[in-house]
Protein backbone atom coordinates (compact mmCIF):
# COMPACT_ATOMS: atom_id res chain seq x y z
CA UNK A 1 0.00 0.00 0.00
CA UNK A 2 1.28 3.46 -0.96
CA UNK A 3 2.58 5.72 1.79
CA UNK A 4 1.00 9.07 2.46
CA UNK A 5 2.16 12.04 4.51
CA UNK A 6 0.51 14.50 6.81
CA UNK A 7 2.08 17.52 8.51
CA UNK A 8 1.07 18.87 11.91
CA UNK A 9 2.23 22.43 12.63
CA UNK A 10 2.73 23.46 16.26
CA UNK A 11 3.29 26.89 17.66
CA UNK A 12 5.73 25.85 20.37
CA UNK A 13 7.88 22.99 21.65
CA UNK A 14 5.47 21.93 24.39
CA UNK A 15 2.50 21.39 22.07
CA UNK A 16 4.76 19.68 19.52
CA UNK A 17 6.00 17.29 22.21
CA UNK A 18 2.38 16.63 23.15
CA UNK A 19 1.61 15.88 19.50
CA UNK A 20 4.56 13.47 19.33
CA UNK A 21 3.39 11.77 22.54
CA UNK A 22 -0.08 11.35 21.07
CA UNK A 23 1.39 9.82 17.94
CA UNK A 24 3.32 7.28 19.97
CA UNK A 25 0.24 6.56 22.08
CA UNK A 26 -1.66 5.91 18.86
CA UNK A 27 0.84 3.22 17.94
CA UNK A 28 3.21 5.16 15.71
CA UNK A 29 6.93 4.75 16.30
CA UNK A 30 9.56 7.49 16.17
CA UNK A 31 10.51 6.13 12.72
CA UNK A 32 7.06 7.00 11.40
CA UNK A 33 7.38 10.74 11.97
CA UNK A 34 9.96 13.39 11.30
CA UNK A 35 10.41 16.60 13.26
CA UNK A 36 11.18 19.85 11.41
CA UNK A 37 12.31 22.93 13.34
CA UNK A 38 13.81 26.33 12.60
CA UNK A 39 16.55 25.90 15.18
CA UNK A 40 18.18 23.05 17.10
CA UNK A 41 16.40 21.55 20.10
CA UNK A 42 17.96 19.15 22.60
CA UNK A 43 18.06 15.63 21.23
CA UNK A 44 14.95 13.69 22.19
CA UNK A 45 12.83 16.78 22.90
CA UNK A 46 10.07 15.35 20.70
CA UNK A 47 10.68 11.72 21.52
CA UNK A 48 12.54 11.31 18.23
CA UNK A 49 15.43 8.94 17.81
CA UNK A 50 18.39 10.23 15.79
CA UNK A 51 20.37 7.47 14.12
CA UNK A 52 24.14 7.46 14.49
CA UNK A 53 26.02 9.25 11.73
CA UNK A 54 29.32 8.38 10.11
CA UNK A 55 30.70 11.90 9.79
CA UNK A 56 33.99 11.08 11.53
CA UNK A 57 34.72 8.39 8.98
CA UNK A 58 34.50 10.97 6.20
CA UNK A 59 37.06 13.22 7.92
CA UNK A 60 39.37 10.31 8.64
CA UNK A 61 39.16 8.98 5.10
CA UNK A 62 39.71 12.49 3.70
CA UNK A 63 42.79 12.95 5.87
CA UNK A 64 44.19 9.65 4.69
CA UNK A 65 43.56 10.49 1.01
CA UNK A 66 45.14 13.93 1.52
CA UNK A 67 48.24 12.47 3.12
CA UNK A 68 48.74 9.86 0.39
CA UNK A 69 48.18 12.46 -2.37
CA UNK A 70 50.66 14.84 -0.82
CA UNK A 71 53.18 12.06 -0.29
CA UNK A 72 53.02 11.06 -3.94
CA UNK A 73 53.02 14.69 -5.15
CA UNK A 74 56.01 15.70 -3.06
CA UNK A 75 58.20 12.72 -3.83
CA UNK A 76 57.19 12.33 -7.48
CA UNK A 77 57.84 16.00 -8.32
CA UNK A 78 61.19 16.06 -6.59
CA UNK A 79 62.45 12.91 -8.25
CA UNK A 80 61.06 14.05 -11.64
CA UNK A 81 63.39 17.05 -11.60
CA UNK A 82 66.21 16.26 -9.19
CA UNK A 83 67.75 19.70 -8.82
CA UNK A 84 69.95 20.12 -5.75
CA UNK A 85 69.40 23.54 -4.16
CA UNK A 86 71.44 24.91 -1.28
CA UNK A 87 72.96 21.52 -0.62
CA UNK A 88 69.61 20.20 0.61
CA UNK A 89 68.68 16.58 -0.14
CA UNK A 90 66.33 15.93 -3.04
CA UNK A 91 63.85 14.16 -0.78
CA UNK A 92 63.93 16.45 2.24
CA UNK A 93 61.57 14.99 4.84
CA UNK A 94 61.07 18.09 7.07
CA UNK A 95 60.30 20.36 4.11
CA UNK A 96 57.98 17.76 2.58
CA UNK A 97 56.13 17.27 5.88
CA UNK A 98 54.78 20.80 5.62
CA UNK A 99 53.06 20.10 2.31
CA UNK A 100 51.81 16.73 3.57
CA UNK A 101 50.42 18.32 6.75
CA UNK A 102 48.49 20.96 4.81
CA UNK A 103 47.17 18.50 2.21
CA UNK A 104 46.04 16.09 4.93
CA UNK A 105 44.02 18.78 6.68
CA UNK A 106 42.72 20.29 3.43
CA UNK A 107 41.27 17.03 2.13
CA UNK A 108 40.00 16.10 5.61
CA UNK A 109 38.07 19.40 5.71
CA UNK A 110 36.68 18.93 2.20
CA UNK A 111 35.54 15.39 3.06
CA UNK A 112 33.99 16.63 6.33
CA UNK A 113 31.81 19.05 4.38
CA UNK A 114 30.91 16.33 1.86
CA UNK A 115 30.10 14.11 4.86
CA UNK A 116 27.81 16.71 6.47
CA UNK A 117 25.93 17.23 3.22
CA UNK A 118 25.66 13.51 2.50
CA UNK A 119 24.69 12.53 6.03
CA UNK A 120 22.14 15.38 6.18
CA UNK A 121 20.58 13.80 3.09
CA UNK A 122 21.22 16.91 1.08
CA UNK A 123 20.75 18.12 -1.57
CA UNK A 124 17.13 17.03 -1.71
CA UNK A 125 15.79 16.87 -5.23
CA UNK A 126 12.67 19.06 -5.41
CA UNK A 127 13.69 21.26 -2.48
CA UNK A 128 12.31 20.93 1.03
CA UNK A 129 9.35 18.82 -0.15
CA UNK A 130 5.65 19.44 -0.83
CA UNK A 131 4.62 19.33 2.83
CA UNK A 132 7.34 21.60 4.16
CA UNK A 133 5.87 24.82 5.53
CA UNK A 134 7.67 28.17 5.50
CA UNK A 135 6.33 28.91 9.01
CA UNK A 136 8.86 26.40 10.37
CA UNK A 137 11.63 29.00 10.09
CA UNK A 138 9.33 31.46 11.88
CA UNK A 139 9.41 29.30 15.01
CA UNK A 140 6.74 26.72 14.26
CA UNK A 141 7.50 23.05 14.72
CA UNK A 142 6.41 20.54 12.14
CA UNK A 143 5.67 16.86 12.72
CA UNK A 144 5.61 15.06 9.39
CA UNK A 145 4.04 11.63 9.56
CA UNK A 146 4.53 9.25 6.64
CA UNK A 147 2.50 6.04 6.91
CA UNK A 148 0.30 3.87 4.71
CA UNK A 149 -3.08 5.25 3.67
CA UNK A 150 -4.97 3.12 6.17
CA UNK A 151 -3.36 4.78 9.17
CA UNK A 152 -3.30 8.35 7.89
CA UNK A 153 -6.62 9.15 9.58
CA UNK A 154 -5.24 8.05 12.96
CA UNK A 155 -2.17 10.18 12.42
CA UNK A 156 -4.29 13.25 11.64
CA UNK A 157 -6.32 12.69 14.76
CA UNK A 158 -3.24 12.26 16.97
CA UNK A 159 -1.65 15.42 15.57
CA UNK A 160 -4.83 17.41 15.99
CA UNK A 161 -5.44 16.26 19.57
CA UNK A 162 -1.89 17.29 20.48
CA UNK A 163 -2.77 20.91 19.78
CA UNK A 164 -1.61 21.30 16.20
CA UNK A 165 -2.44 24.74 14.85
CA UNK A 166 -2.88 23.26 11.42
CA UNK A 167 -2.81 19.79 9.94
CA UNK A 168 -1.89 19.72 6.27
CA UNK A 169 -2.43 16.72 4.01
CA UNK A 170 -0.19 15.79 1.14
CA UNK A 171 -1.57 17.20 -2.11
CA UNK A 172 -3.10 14.49 -4.26
Amino acid sequence: MANQSVLGLYENADTAAEGARNLRAAGFTSDDYEVMTGNPYPEGAFGEHVKKNKLFRFSLFGGFIGFITAFLFVFATQTAFPLVTGGKPILAIPASMIIMYEFTLLVAMIFTVIGVIFESRLPRPGGAGPLYDARITLGYIGLLVTVDQERIGNAQQALQSGGAEEVINEPA
Binding site: A17, T112, V116, I117, G129
Partner: protein, 463 residues
Protein backbone atom coordinates in the same frame (compact mmCIF):
# COMPACT_ATOMS: atom_id res chain seq x y z
CA UNK B 1 26.58 37.51 30.96
CA UNK B 2 23.71 39.95 31.05
CA UNK B 3 20.22 38.61 30.46
CA UNK B 4 19.58 38.36 26.78
CA UNK B 5 16.48 40.09 25.43
CA UNK B 6 13.56 37.75 24.89
CA UNK B 7 12.89 37.62 21.16
CA UNK B 8 10.60 35.42 19.11
CA UNK B 9 11.85 33.59 16.03
CA UNK B 10 9.96 36.06 13.89
CA UNK B 11 11.58 39.06 15.64
CA UNK B 12 15.02 37.51 15.23
CA UNK B 13 14.35 37.05 11.51
CA UNK B 14 13.18 40.64 11.20
CA UNK B 15 16.11 42.15 13.10
CA UNK B 16 18.79 40.08 11.42
CA UNK B 17 17.47 39.77 7.90
CA UNK B 18 16.46 43.36 7.14
CA UNK B 19 19.70 44.10 5.26
CA UNK B 20 18.90 41.19 2.92
CA UNK B 21 15.41 42.40 2.09
CA UNK B 22 15.76 46.17 2.34
CA UNK B 23 18.24 48.79 1.24
CA UNK B 24 18.42 51.47 3.92
CA UNK B 25 20.36 54.71 3.77
CA UNK B 26 22.85 53.62 6.45
CA UNK B 27 23.74 50.58 4.34
CA UNK B 28 24.51 52.78 1.32
CA UNK B 29 26.39 55.32 3.46
CA UNK B 30 28.51 52.55 4.95
CA UNK B 31 29.21 51.12 1.51
CA UNK B 32 30.32 54.34 -0.21
CA UNK B 33 33.64 55.18 1.57
CA UNK B 34 35.14 51.69 1.14
CA UNK B 35 33.87 51.56 -2.43
CA UNK B 36 35.62 54.86 -3.23
CA UNK B 37 38.82 53.50 -1.66
CA UNK B 38 38.59 50.33 -3.73
CA UNK B 39 38.08 52.36 -6.91
CA UNK B 40 41.13 54.48 -6.05
CA UNK B 41 43.06 51.25 -5.47
CA UNK B 42 41.92 49.88 -8.84
CA UNK B 43 43.22 53.05 -10.55
CA UNK B 44 46.53 52.75 -8.67
CA UNK B 45 46.93 49.09 -9.66
CA UNK B 46 46.16 49.94 -13.29
CA UNK B 47 48.79 52.70 -13.29
CA UNK B 48 51.25 50.31 -11.63
CA UNK B 49 50.73 47.61 -14.22
CA UNK B 50 50.87 50.17 -17.07
CA UNK B 51 53.99 51.93 -15.83
CA UNK B 52 55.80 49.04 -14.15
CA UNK B 53 57.30 48.56 -10.72
CA UNK B 54 59.68 51.50 -11.12
CA UNK B 55 56.94 53.83 -9.86
CA UNK B 56 57.05 52.09 -6.47
CA UNK B 57 59.71 52.68 -3.84
CA UNK B 58 61.10 49.17 -4.38
CA UNK B 59 64.76 49.13 -5.32
CA UNK B 60 67.83 47.06 -4.67
CA UNK B 61 68.19 45.65 -2.03
CA UNK B 62 64.70 46.45 -0.66
CA UNK B 63 62.49 44.47 -3.01
CA UNK B 64 59.89 43.72 -0.36
CA UNK B 65 57.94 46.83 0.54
CA UNK B 66 54.40 47.92 1.35
CA UNK B 67 52.80 45.10 -0.64
CA UNK B 68 54.50 42.37 1.39
CA UNK B 69 53.97 44.28 4.65
CA UNK B 70 50.28 44.54 3.85
CA UNK B 71 50.14 40.91 2.70
CA UNK B 72 51.52 39.75 6.06
CA UNK B 73 49.20 42.13 7.93
CA UNK B 74 46.04 40.82 6.25
CA UNK B 75 47.12 37.19 6.63
CA UNK B 76 47.52 38.00 10.32
CA UNK B 77 44.10 39.61 10.58
CA UNK B 78 42.53 36.64 8.85
CA UNK B 79 43.84 34.42 11.61
CA UNK B 80 41.85 35.60 14.52
CA UNK B 81 38.55 35.25 12.74
CA UNK B 82 38.57 31.51 12.45
CA UNK B 83 40.67 31.12 15.59
CA UNK B 84 38.25 32.96 17.84
CA UNK B 85 35.30 31.23 16.24
CA UNK B 86 36.89 27.78 16.58
CA UNK B 87 38.00 28.25 20.17
CA UNK B 88 34.56 29.51 21.16
CA UNK B 89 32.90 26.59 19.40
CA UNK B 90 35.22 24.01 20.95
CA UNK B 91 34.73 25.44 24.42
CA UNK B 92 30.99 25.83 23.72
CA UNK B 93 31.13 29.39 25.01
CA UNK B 94 27.65 30.83 25.05
CA UNK B 95 28.80 34.27 23.90
CA UNK B 96 30.04 32.88 20.59
CA UNK B 97 26.64 33.15 18.93
CA UNK B 98 26.75 36.69 17.49
CA UNK B 99 30.47 36.66 16.72
CA UNK B 100 31.32 33.43 14.90
CA UNK B 101 30.04 34.14 11.42
CA UNK B 102 31.34 37.70 11.13
CA UNK B 103 34.73 36.52 12.37
CA UNK B 104 34.83 33.62 9.88
CA UNK B 105 33.74 35.84 7.01
CA UNK B 106 36.36 38.41 7.96
CA UNK B 107 38.91 35.60 7.70
CA UNK B 108 37.82 34.83 4.14
CA UNK B 109 37.84 38.45 2.98
CA UNK B 110 41.12 39.27 4.70
CA UNK B 111 42.71 36.21 3.05
CA UNK B 112 41.37 37.16 -0.38
CA UNK B 113 42.68 40.71 0.10
CA UNK B 114 46.06 39.49 1.25
CA UNK B 115 46.38 37.14 -1.72
CA UNK B 116 45.99 40.05 -4.13
CA UNK B 117 49.18 41.65 -2.82
CA UNK B 118 51.78 39.16 -4.07
CA UNK B 119 50.02 39.30 -7.45
CA UNK B 120 50.35 43.09 -7.59
CA UNK B 121 53.87 42.82 -6.20
CA UNK B 122 54.84 40.59 -9.13
CA UNK B 123 54.52 43.65 -11.39
CA UNK B 124 53.31 41.56 -14.29
CA UNK B 125 50.38 39.69 -12.69
CA UNK B 126 49.59 37.59 -15.76
CA UNK B 127 52.94 35.85 -15.34
CA UNK B 128 51.84 34.49 -11.95
CA UNK B 129 50.26 31.66 -13.90
CA UNK B 130 53.73 30.23 -14.64
CA UNK B 131 54.45 30.16 -10.93
CA UNK B 132 51.08 28.82 -9.78
CA UNK B 133 50.95 25.91 -12.17
CA UNK B 134 53.67 23.34 -12.86
CA UNK B 135 55.95 25.39 -15.03
CA UNK B 136 56.48 23.16 -17.94
CA UNK B 137 55.27 19.60 -18.15
CA UNK B 138 57.32 18.78 -21.21
CA UNK B 139 60.58 19.57 -19.47
CA UNK B 140 59.41 18.04 -16.19
CA UNK B 141 59.95 21.18 -14.12
CA UNK B 142 57.78 21.27 -10.99
CA UNK B 143 57.47 23.70 -8.07
CA UNK B 144 60.19 23.09 -5.51
CA UNK B 145 58.33 21.85 -2.44
CA UNK B 146 61.40 22.58 -0.33
CA UNK B 147 60.90 26.30 -0.86
CA UNK B 148 58.92 28.44 1.63
CA UNK B 149 57.46 30.23 -1.39
CA UNK B 150 55.63 26.98 -2.21
CA UNK B 151 54.70 26.17 1.42
CA UNK B 152 53.12 29.60 1.69
CA UNK B 153 50.46 29.34 -1.08
CA UNK B 154 49.73 25.72 -0.11
CA UNK B 155 49.04 26.74 3.50
CA UNK B 156 47.04 29.84 2.58
CA UNK B 157 44.97 27.95 0.01
CA UNK B 158 44.21 25.29 2.63
CA UNK B 159 43.16 27.93 5.13
CA UNK B 160 41.07 29.84 2.58
CA UNK B 161 39.33 26.69 1.33
CA UNK B 162 38.66 25.51 4.90
CA UNK B 163 37.33 28.91 5.94
CA UNK B 164 35.01 29.18 2.92
CA UNK B 165 33.66 25.67 3.56
CA UNK B 166 33.21 26.50 7.24
CA UNK B 167 31.21 29.63 6.45
CA UNK B 168 29.17 28.02 3.70
CA UNK B 169 28.09 24.92 5.64
CA UNK B 170 27.08 26.94 8.70
CA UNK B 171 25.07 29.20 6.38
CA UNK B 172 22.79 26.45 5.02
CA UNK B 173 20.09 26.84 7.77
CA UNK B 174 20.08 30.62 7.23
CA UNK B 175 19.76 30.15 3.47
CA UNK B 176 16.63 28.14 4.30
CA UNK B 177 15.26 31.01 6.43
CA UNK B 178 15.76 33.48 3.57
CA UNK B 179 14.27 30.98 1.11
CA UNK B 180 11.16 30.69 3.27
CA UNK B 181 10.76 34.47 3.55
CA UNK B 182 11.33 35.20 -0.16
CA UNK B 183 9.51 34.98 -3.43
CA UNK B 184 10.51 34.87 -7.09
CA UNK B 185 14.12 34.75 -8.21
CA UNK B 186 15.47 35.28 -4.67
CA UNK B 187 13.55 32.23 -3.49
CA UNK B 188 14.95 30.15 -6.35
CA UNK B 189 18.55 31.20 -5.64
CA UNK B 190 18.37 30.74 -1.86
CA UNK B 191 16.37 27.53 -2.34
CA UNK B 192 19.23 26.15 -4.43
CA UNK B 193 21.77 27.24 -1.81
CA UNK B 194 19.70 25.70 1.02
CA UNK B 195 19.70 22.41 -0.94
CA UNK B 196 16.33 21.38 0.48
CA UNK B 197 17.17 21.98 4.15
CA UNK B 198 14.24 21.12 6.44
CA UNK B 199 15.70 21.38 9.91
CA UNK B 200 15.33 17.76 10.96
CA UNK B 201 16.98 16.66 14.23
CA UNK B 202 19.59 14.73 12.22
CA UNK B 203 20.47 17.84 10.20
CA UNK B 204 20.78 19.94 13.36
CA UNK B 205 22.85 17.27 15.07
CA UNK B 206 25.24 17.20 12.11
CA UNK B 207 25.49 20.99 12.12
CA UNK B 208 26.54 20.84 15.76
CA UNK B 209 29.12 18.11 15.20
CA UNK B 210 30.37 19.86 12.08
CA UNK B 211 31.05 23.09 14.01
CA UNK B 212 33.19 21.24 16.55
CA UNK B 213 34.90 18.89 14.09
CA UNK B 214 35.72 21.63 11.61
CA UNK B 215 37.03 23.83 14.44
CA UNK B 216 39.34 21.02 15.50
CA UNK B 217 40.56 20.60 11.92
CA UNK B 218 41.03 24.27 11.12
CA UNK B 219 42.83 25.27 14.33
CA UNK B 220 46.03 23.38 13.39
CA UNK B 221 45.84 25.02 9.96
CA UNK B 222 45.50 28.43 11.62
CA UNK B 223 48.67 27.85 13.62
CA UNK B 224 50.55 26.48 10.63
CA UNK B 225 49.62 29.25 8.19
CA UNK B 226 51.20 32.15 9.99
CA UNK B 227 54.14 30.00 11.05
CA UNK B 228 54.70 29.23 7.38
CA UNK B 229 54.30 32.89 6.42
CA UNK B 230 56.98 33.68 9.01
CA UNK B 231 59.24 31.05 7.43
CA UNK B 232 59.16 33.10 4.19
CA UNK B 233 61.42 35.35 6.25
CA UNK B 234 62.98 33.00 8.78
CA UNK B 235 64.13 30.44 6.18
CA UNK B 236 66.14 33.16 4.43
CA UNK B 237 69.60 34.28 5.50
CA UNK B 238 68.68 37.95 6.02
CA UNK B 239 69.94 39.08 9.44
CA UNK B 240 67.18 39.53 12.05
CA UNK B 241 64.77 37.51 9.90
CA UNK B 242 66.70 34.29 10.32
CA UNK B 243 65.46 33.53 13.84
CA UNK B 244 63.58 30.57 15.28
CA UNK B 245 61.25 32.77 17.32
CA UNK B 246 59.59 34.16 14.19
CA UNK B 247 56.87 31.50 13.91
CA UNK B 248 55.28 31.95 17.38
CA UNK B 249 56.02 35.70 17.22
CA UNK B 250 54.10 36.00 13.94
CA UNK B 251 51.25 33.81 15.21
CA UNK B 252 50.75 35.82 18.41
CA UNK B 253 51.03 39.10 16.46
CA UNK B 254 48.43 37.78 14.04
CA UNK B 255 46.11 36.87 16.89
CA UNK B 256 46.59 40.31 18.47
CA UNK B 257 45.73 42.20 15.29
CA UNK B 258 43.00 39.76 14.30
CA UNK B 259 41.13 39.75 17.61
CA UNK B 260 41.33 43.55 17.66
CA UNK B 261 39.88 43.58 14.15
CA UNK B 262 37.05 41.34 15.37
CA UNK B 263 36.38 43.99 18.02
CA UNK B 264 36.33 46.72 15.36
CA UNK B 265 33.98 44.59 13.29
CA UNK B 266 31.63 43.95 16.23
CA UNK B 267 31.26 47.68 16.89
CA UNK B 268 30.87 48.37 13.18
CA UNK B 269 28.16 45.71 12.83
CA UNK B 270 26.32 46.96 15.90
CA UNK B 271 26.21 50.50 14.55
CA UNK B 272 25.50 49.84 10.89
CA UNK B 273 23.09 46.93 11.22
CA UNK B 274 21.44 47.92 14.52
CA UNK B 275 22.40 44.71 16.31
CA UNK B 276 22.01 46.02 19.88
CA UNK B 277 19.83 43.03 20.76
CA UNK B 278 22.55 40.59 19.73
CA UNK B 279 25.93 42.20 20.38
CA UNK B 280 26.08 43.49 23.96
CA UNK B 281 28.58 45.19 26.21
CA UNK B 282 29.32 41.74 27.64
CA UNK B 283 30.79 40.63 24.32
CA UNK B 284 33.16 43.60 24.24
CA UNK B 285 34.06 42.93 27.86
CA UNK B 286 34.89 39.29 27.12
CA UNK B 287 36.97 40.08 24.01
CA UNK B 288 38.71 42.87 25.93
CA UNK B 289 39.79 40.47 28.66
CA UNK B 290 41.04 38.03 26.04
CA UNK B 291 43.03 40.84 24.40
CA UNK B 292 44.85 41.69 27.64
CA UNK B 293 46.32 38.20 27.67
CA UNK B 294 47.07 38.17 23.93
CA UNK B 295 48.74 41.61 23.96
CA UNK B 296 50.94 40.63 26.89
CA UNK B 297 51.99 37.42 25.16
CA UNK B 298 52.78 39.49 22.05
CA UNK B 299 54.95 41.87 24.12
CA UNK B 300 56.87 38.90 25.49
CA UNK B 301 57.72 37.71 21.97
CA UNK B 302 58.59 41.27 20.95
CA UNK B 303 61.30 41.34 23.64
CA UNK B 304 62.30 37.75 22.90
CA UNK B 305 63.05 38.72 19.28
CA UNK B 306 65.53 41.33 20.56
CA UNK B 307 66.97 38.88 23.07
CA UNK B 308 67.59 36.29 20.33
CA UNK B 309 69.41 38.83 18.19
CA UNK B 310 71.52 40.32 20.97
CA UNK B 311 72.40 36.87 22.31
CA UNK B 312 74.07 35.96 19.01
CA UNK B 313 76.42 38.95 19.36
CA UNK B 314 76.66 38.93 15.58
CA UNK B 315 77.49 42.30 14.12
CA UNK B 316 74.89 42.15 11.36
CA UNK B 317 72.07 41.07 13.68
CA UNK B 318 72.85 43.85 16.12
CA UNK B 319 73.11 46.35 13.24
CA UNK B 320 69.53 45.61 12.22
CA UNK B 321 68.30 45.90 15.80
CA UNK B 322 70.16 49.16 16.16
CA UNK B 323 68.51 50.37 12.99
CA UNK B 324 65.07 49.35 14.32
CA UNK B 325 65.57 51.08 17.66
CA UNK B 326 67.76 54.08 16.99
CA UNK B 327 67.60 55.20 13.37
CA UNK B 328 64.97 57.48 11.89
CA UNK B 329 62.20 56.72 10.94
CA UNK B 330 62.27 53.24 12.49
CA UNK B 331 62.81 54.55 16.01
CA UNK B 332 59.61 56.59 15.72
CA UNK B 333 57.79 53.61 14.23
CA UNK B 334 58.94 51.40 17.12
CA UNK B 335 57.70 53.90 19.70
CA UNK B 336 54.32 54.36 17.97
CA UNK B 337 53.98 50.58 17.58
CA UNK B 338 54.60 49.79 21.25
CA UNK B 339 52.42 52.68 22.40
CA UNK B 340 49.45 51.79 20.19
CA UNK B 341 49.72 48.01 20.51
CA UNK B 342 50.29 47.84 24.24
CA UNK B 343 51.03 50.90 26.35
CA UNK B 344 47.83 52.81 25.54
CA UNK B 345 45.22 50.05 25.22
CA UNK B 346 46.20 47.71 28.06
CA UNK B 347 45.73 50.12 31.00
CA UNK B 348 42.41 51.07 29.44
CA UNK B 349 41.29 47.47 28.96
CA UNK B 350 42.14 46.67 32.57
CA UNK B 351 39.22 48.87 33.51
CA UNK B 352 35.88 47.09 33.30
CA UNK B 353 34.02 50.32 32.47
CA UNK B 354 36.25 50.85 29.45
CA UNK B 355 35.77 47.27 28.28
CA UNK B 356 32.02 47.86 28.36
CA UNK B 357 32.27 51.17 26.52
CA UNK B 358 31.78 50.28 22.88
CA UNK B 359 33.14 53.53 21.42
CA UNK B 360 36.33 53.28 23.48
CA UNK B 361 36.79 49.61 22.58
CA UNK B 362 36.31 50.49 18.92
CA UNK B 363 38.97 53.20 18.97
CA UNK B 364 41.46 51.14 21.01
CA UNK B 365 41.05 48.26 18.55
CA UNK B 366 41.82 50.68 15.70
CA UNK B 367 44.92 51.80 17.62
CA UNK B 368 46.10 48.21 18.00
CA UNK B 369 45.73 47.60 14.31
CA UNK B 370 47.72 50.71 13.45
CA UNK B 371 50.41 49.38 15.77
CA UNK B 372 50.29 45.89 14.36
CA UNK B 373 50.54 47.16 10.78
CA UNK B 374 53.60 49.15 11.81
CA UNK B 375 54.98 46.01 13.48
CA UNK B 376 55.04 44.24 10.10
CA UNK B 377 56.80 47.24 8.60
CA UNK B 378 59.23 47.25 11.55
CA UNK B 379 60.00 43.55 11.08
CA UNK B 380 60.38 43.52 7.30
CA UNK B 381 61.86 46.76 6.04
CA UNK B 382 64.86 47.59 8.29
CA UNK B 383 66.23 44.07 7.80
CA UNK B 384 65.94 44.00 4.03
CA UNK B 385 67.23 47.51 3.38
CA UNK B 386 70.16 47.30 5.81
CA UNK B 387 73.44 48.60 4.54
CA UNK B 388 75.32 45.95 2.63
CA UNK B 389 79.06 45.71 2.40
CA UNK B 390 78.99 46.97 -1.17
CA UNK B 391 78.08 50.66 -1.29
CA UNK B 392 76.14 50.41 -4.55
CA UNK B 393 73.61 48.28 -2.67
CA UNK B 394 72.85 50.97 -0.13
CA UNK B 395 69.30 52.26 -0.44
CA UNK B 396 66.40 53.36 1.66
CA UNK B 397 62.90 52.18 0.89
CA UNK B 398 60.55 55.14 0.49
CA UNK B 399 57.03 53.99 -0.36
CA UNK B 400 55.39 55.77 -3.28
CA UNK B 401 51.92 57.29 -3.42
CA UNK B 402 50.73 54.39 -5.60
CA UNK B 403 51.72 51.86 -2.96
CA UNK B 404 50.10 53.88 -0.18
CA UNK B 405 46.82 54.13 -2.11
CA UNK B 406 46.82 50.36 -2.68
CA UNK B 407 47.39 49.77 1.05
CA UNK B 408 44.47 52.04 1.95
CA UNK B 409 42.33 50.39 -0.72
CA UNK B 410 42.94 46.99 0.88
CA UNK B 411 41.17 48.22 4.04
CA UNK B 412 38.35 49.50 1.86
CA UNK B 413 38.17 46.17 0.09
CA UNK B 414 37.67 44.11 3.27
CA UNK B 415 35.02 46.58 4.52
CA UNK B 416 33.27 46.64 1.14
CA UNK B 417 33.19 42.85 0.85
CA UNK B 418 31.77 42.57 4.37
CA UNK B 419 29.00 45.06 3.58
CA UNK B 420 28.16 43.24 0.34
CA UNK B 421 28.11 39.94 2.27
CA UNK B 422 25.77 41.47 4.86
CA UNK B 423 23.42 42.40 2.02
CA UNK B 424 23.24 38.74 0.97
CA UNK B 425 23.10 36.84 4.29
CA UNK B 426 22.82 37.83 7.97
CA UNK B 427 26.18 38.58 9.61
CA UNK B 428 24.82 37.10 12.84
CA UNK B 429 23.60 33.49 12.46
CA UNK B 430 19.82 33.67 12.90
CA UNK B 431 19.48 29.97 13.76
CA UNK B 432 22.11 30.19 16.48
CA UNK B 433 20.30 33.16 18.03
CA UNK B 434 17.07 31.18 18.03
CA UNK B 435 18.88 28.26 19.65
CA UNK B 436 20.18 30.69 22.28
CA UNK B 437 16.60 31.74 23.02
CA UNK B 438 15.61 28.10 23.56
CA UNK B 439 18.42 27.66 26.10
CA UNK B 440 17.95 31.02 27.82
CA UNK B 441 16.72 29.56 31.11
CA UNK B 442 16.29 26.28 32.91
CA UNK B 443 13.20 24.85 31.41
CA UNK B 444 11.46 21.67 30.54
CA UNK B 445 11.60 21.39 26.78
CA UNK B 446 9.33 18.72 25.47
CA UNK B 447 10.23 15.56 27.29
CA UNK B 448 13.67 16.50 28.52
CA UNK B 449 14.93 19.00 31.04
CA UNK B 450 17.90 20.99 29.90
CA UNK B 451 20.21 23.10 32.02
CA UNK B 452 20.16 26.83 31.53
CA UNK B 453 23.18 28.52 30.03
CA UNK B 454 25.73 29.35 32.73
CA UNK B 455 25.47 33.03 33.36
CA UNK B 456 28.30 34.94 34.91
CA UNK B 457 27.77 36.78 38.15
CA UNK B 458 26.20 40.17 37.90
CA UNK B 459 28.40 41.33 40.78
CA UNK B 460 30.86 44.02 39.74
CA UNK B 461 34.28 42.60 39.10
CA UNK B 462 37.37 43.76 40.88
CA UNK B 463 39.06 44.52 37.57
Amino acid sequence: MQDRPVLTASQINDELLWPVFELRRRHVLAFLPPFILVMAGAVAVTILIWQGLWITGLQRPAFWGFFIVNFVFWIGVSHAGTMISSILRLTQAEWKRPITRAAEVMTVFALVTSLIHPVIHAGRPWRIIYWLLPYDFTRGIWPDVRSPLVWDPVAITTYLTGSILFVFTALIPDFAIIRDQSTGMRRTIYGALAMGWRGTPRQWQLQGIFGILMSALILPVFVSVHSIVSWDFAASVVPAWHVTVYAPYFVIGAVHSGVSMVLTLMAFMRWIFKLENFIWEDHFDAVGRLLIFIATAWLFFFFLDFAFSFYTREEQEIAVMERRLLEWPFNAITIIMVMTSYVIPIPLWLNRKVRRNIALMFWTSILVNIGMWLERFFLIIPAIERKQELTFLWANYVPSLTESVIVLASFGMVAMLLIIFAKLVPLVPAWEQKEGQVFRSEVQIGEVTVPAIVRESEEPRAW
